[in-house]
Symmetry: C2
Subunit: 109 residues, 2 copies
């Protein structure tokens, strides 16, 4: 995960560079799956969530698939993980999400 703190001015501000487009598109693609969106929403609305405890049953997909999606979210830097005993807890990374929100945010409207 790159140390990107400031990235990608709003799309409407200036034509986005290829590099930034790749970066942003990667994040959006991660959000482009209903299962991941529901997982992220579950995590965010609880503030923190454990995979088996809070996530597998509600989304209604198999445990390996949940694990896969959580990995994708994690590697995109949209959630962070903390292992506590036998369980792994996930929390959202608001800074990352803010980058995306700001990129498509319409200051001209």
């Amino acid at each position: 995960m790159q140390p990107i703190v400031e990235c990608c001015a709003p799309l409407a501000e200036e034509p986005i560079a290829q590099v930034d487009a790749d970066q942003l598109a990667g994040w959006f693609r991660v959000l482009g799956d209903p299962a991941r969106l529901r997982l992220l929403s579950l995590i965010a609305s609880k503030g923190e969530a454990c995979a088996a405890c809070d996530l597998v049953e509600p989304v209604g997909i198999s445990q390996p698939t949940v694990s896969h999606h959580l990995k994708v979210l994690y590697e995109a830097g949209l959630v962070e993980r903390e292992k506590r005993g036998r369980w792994v807890y996930y929390r959202p990374v608001p800074e990352r999400l803010a980058i995306l929100s700001r990129a498509i945010g319409s200051p001209g409207a």
Copy 2:
């Protein structure tokens, strides 16, 4: 295109419903491609853009591929089209983009 004006409370507010997840994920998937992101950025930063005039050359992909991406953006309701003479002009749809921005917006951060 459905008449969705109000949709999808912020992800962190409450666990998102399956239907909303499908809807949102569809829009994010559209943004999940660098070429489409660059096209949208070019359109948005100019306020309006014509495919051949302003888009084909800057993004560096073939005309049919540009046409395809514009169709995807259009059918997602992220841009609107207007045919003027031989040309087709595209404009962003800020309300749609605002929905996405608000969905991932972090009120808790």
